[in-house]
Symmetry: C3
Subunit: 140 residues, 3 copies
Amino acid sequence: MPLWHIYHPVDTYTEQDKQDFAADITEIYTRFGLPAFYVIVQFHEMPGTSVFVGGKPSGDTVRVVVKHLARHLDDAGRRKRMTEHLDGVMRPYTHDRDLHMEFHVEDTPRDQWMIAGLWPPDEGSDAEKAWAQANRAMPY
Amino acid sequence: MPLWHIYHPVDTYTEQDKQDFAADITEIYTRFGLPAFYVIVQFHEMPGTSVFVGGKPSGDTVRVVVKHLARHLDDAGRRKRMTEHLDGVMRPYTHDRDLHMEFHVEDTPRDQWMIAGLWPPDEGSDAEKAWAQANRAMPY
Amino acid sequence: MPLWHIYHPVDTYTEQDKQDFAADITEIYTRFGLPAFYVIVQFHEMPGTSVFVGGKPSGDTVRVVVKHLARHLDDAGRRKRMTEHLDGVMRPYTHDRDLHMEFHVEDTPRDQWMIAGLWPPDEGSDAEKAWAQANRAMPY
C-alpha cells in the first residue's frame, strides 16, 4: 500500500542509508499488522540543476511524496499524529543531516488497487493477516 | 488523459517491449472513443539499489501509477472490472515474466487539466470525437 | 506547497531555461503571498524511448503534474482562470517552442503536509506572512 517516492540530491544516501531508511519506513506499517511487502520505497536521485526551491537551484532538498492505499485516516487528530510520526521517522535521514525536507501524504482509492494480480484483502481480515505472515500475495 | 507511470527495473523492457506495452495500454482507451494522444505512458527505469519492497532491495518489481482524468467511474462494479481489465493488459509484461507488480489508479480533477493550451472537450461531445478522429488537439 | 513535476525530453532545457521556468512558476505563488520556498519544481529528463503519446514514442512532449497543497480553489470559475493562468506561464517553455504539452493540477490534503519538521501555518495567518518574509520555515 504505501508507496514512498523519495526525491533526493545525488550522493546524499549510501546504499546502507537507503536500506536503513526503507527498513524504518517499512516498520511504520508492519507495526500495524500490514504485510511488509505492501511497503514500496523508491529513491529518485535528482541532480542539483533539476530541483528548484523558491526559484533557486537546490542541492540539499529532500521532497517526499507518500501514497496511502490500504489505510486511510478520517479523524483529524489521528491524521496529525500519523503525519508527525512519519516526520519523526524521516528525521535521522533529513533534518538531522541539515537537509531541507518537505513531504505530504496522499490517500488514494483502495478499490482501484491490485498486487500481483490479486485484490488486497479487506482491512484486518484473516486473509490480510495470512498475507502479512507469509509476506506475499496469495489467493484467498 | 490517462497518464501512466511505469517504474521498472533496469533492462527489463526492450524498446520493442515498451512500444508493445504502450500500444496495449493506448488501446484500452481508444476502444472507448478517447483520442489516442490522450494516453501518455512514461517508463521510469529504476536501479535495483533504489527500490525497496518490504524493506529489501528489489530488482524485479514493477510499480505502476495510473492517473485518470477524462473519465472517472463511480459505480463500484465498473471500477472493479476496469481495474481487473488493466491488470489483464499488464499481465504479459509483468506477472507472465515473474515480475512482482503492484498498481493503483488515481482519479484526478478534469477541470484543472489542459492539453496543448486547450480545454479538452466534454465527454462524448462532437469535439471530443473530432479530436479522436484527427488524433490531435484543435480549437472547437 | 506547490510541487511541480516537469517531465521533459532530453536536452530540451538549458540550465538557464530551467532557472527561468522555475522562477516564473515561483512568481505565480509569491504574488499571492505564499512563501517562495513553498514552491518546489523538479525537472525530470525523459529519454525519447521512454515516453509514448498515443502509443508512439515521443521526443517532443512535456508532461507537467502540479500538486497544490497550501491553497485549494472551490469555485469553478476561479479553478478555470487559475488553470489557464498556469498554461500561460508555461507557454514560452512549451507551446511557443512547438513542444506538445499536457498538464493537470491535483489538490492534495493540507493536513498531511509538513515542511522542515513543522506544520505550515494557516492560510493568511501572521505566521505564514512571517515565513514568506523570512523565506524559511521557523517555529511560531
